[in-house]
Amino acid sequence: MSAPPIDEAAPAARPADTADDARARRRAPSTLAVAWRLARKDLAIEYRTRSAFFASLTFSIIGVAIFYFVWDPTAVRAIDVAPGVLWTIFAFASLLGLHRAFAIELQTRAMDALLLAPVSREALFLGKAIANLVYVSAVLAITIPVAVLFYNLPIGTGLVVLAGIGVLAAIGMVSVGTLFSSMTVHTRFAELLLPMLALPFFIPVVVPAAQASARLLLGRPVSEVADWLQLLAAFDVIFFTACLLLFPLTIED
């Protein structure tokens, strides 16, 4: 700390009496308000650093390109291979950013400030999950058109449904990824441990997403994939609820 020192003329911001009064008047912020504030903070950091987003995006585009160049169009139709490629790449690309969710809280031990604040642990999970969902959806929003272009997929109105499937899949992945990111961030091999723990739980999300999108790309009606979508939504509910309830156990001493 260098000169000038603290301004003597500056008034005390909160003498203890007024600070006590102010604190008593203040209501603890609601869970949703805290979650949204935390998500805004995380997204602002990601927007300014762009490290995780660009890493995930680069991985996605290169992954789609590699699969494209090793694909033999005379042996397998594009429509058969593209959904699997898309969802496999999406699952791995998501993991690159999910690790960062809690890593940014540990760099300077900012997590301690979150734990000291009068906010529910569920609000912290929700905030991280919202930020992760926006980030993962942004990666997906670019990866889907890239896959459509590379594989020349016949897509029209199905794009909206495909985007909807993407959001549903992202909710499940983000729930699991946020929980495991919190669990593994304190470990020495967090970046290795997170995929090992999270990927098995991604399978119930990736399979219905890939099945539903494959049928849509074949031109089948949405009603034909309703079962897959219901299954995907059910896993979302289960994973989100379980992760929300388990999250406080991962951050308490």
Binding site: M1, S2, A3, P4, P5, I6, D7, E8, A10, P11, A12, A13, R14, P15, A16, D17, T18, A19, D20, A22, R23, R26, R27, A28, P29, V34, R37, K41, A44, I45, R48, T49, I104, Q107, T108, R109, A110, D112, A113, L114, L115, L116, A117, P118, V119, S120, E252, D253
Partner: protein, 264 residues
């Protein structure tokens, strides 16, 4: 240009702590009370049978060699670590307590606890928001002004020197008006002017009626603020007494004897 006790509108005599509830014997109840606190990490004992109390308007300077358990004690006082035995009570409520209880603690760690990509104001406003304060709460700008940070409010933390980051950390820790301020090695990385400024600020906080617990290696800096001094060695409190005379050299001699086992 350091703050002196009684110079600001927030001044209150240490003899008259604010809002201090009285116990039946008319002694103010402590802000934080530790009773037979023990903490283990596996088989290793980090703290054993530590008991102390800090009242409003008091500053406890906590000394000890590396690994003595100072940081563990501070984190226990904050409610971030659960005791293996004993208890910590903040305003009479056993920690970790309710969210409202946690809100009365301000922690300045030797880590900055800041987000490098955010500006000074964004960091302080985010901390304030977690305590239910709005982004435009006047306390945010008042706290920045108090720490002479107003001119740097829009500067990203990563662009600041260690000293200015430390000021931002202090602003983050006190913006919500905590009644207990915990400071872990707050002088680390500060130059002489910065250390003097920090001492002036902490003295003001103490004189406002807040309770301070200050962990430091520097006996002179610690005793400049302290109303009480304590020494931790191997997780045990070997000395805890009021600081009557500000004789740092005599205390330093005792501290050396306690920690190094030197002959008197």
């Amino acid at each position: 240009m350091a703050l002196s006790p009684g110079s600001g509108p927030g001044y209150r005599s240490r003899a008259m702590p604010l809002r201090a509830s009285l116990t039946p014997d008319h002694r103010p109840s402590p802000v934080v009370a530790v009773d037979a606190l023990g903490r283990r990490y596996g088989v290793r004992r980090a703290l054993g049978d530590v008991s102390l109390a800090v009242h409003a308007g008091e500053c406890l300077a906590l000394f000890g060699p590396n690994g003595a358990g100072k940081t563990t004690l501070l984190r226990s006082l904050a409610g971030l670590l659960r005791p293996s035995s004993g208890e910590v009570r903040l305003h009479g409520e056993r920690l970790p307590g309710t969210p409202a209880t946690r809100a009365r603690v301000g922690l300045l760690s030797h880590h900055s606890m800041l987000y490098d990509a955010l500006t000074v104001r964004e960091n302080v406003a985010f901390a304030a928001a977690l305590h239910g304060m709005g982004d435009e709460d006047p306390a945010i700008d008042a706290t920045l002004a108090r720490l002479d940070l107003a001119a740097r409010a829009l500067v990203p933390v990563r662009a600041l020197s260690r000293g200015w980051q430390q000021r931002t950390s202090i602003a983050r820790a006190i913006v919500h008006g905590p009644s207990l301020v915990l400071l872990d090695e707050p002088y680390t990385g500060l130059d002489v002017a910065g250390a003097r400024a920090l001492t002036a600020l902490l003295r003001t906080l103490r004189d406002e009626g807040r309770a301070l617990v200050l962990v430091t290696h520097d006996v002179n800096e610690g005793l400049e603020l302290a109303t009480h001094a304590a020494v931790l060695v191997d997780g045990r409190l070997v000395l805890h007494e009021p600081v009557a005379a500000r004789d740092a050299s005599a205390f330093a001699d005792r501290y050396r004897r306690l920690t190094l086992g030197e002959a008197a």
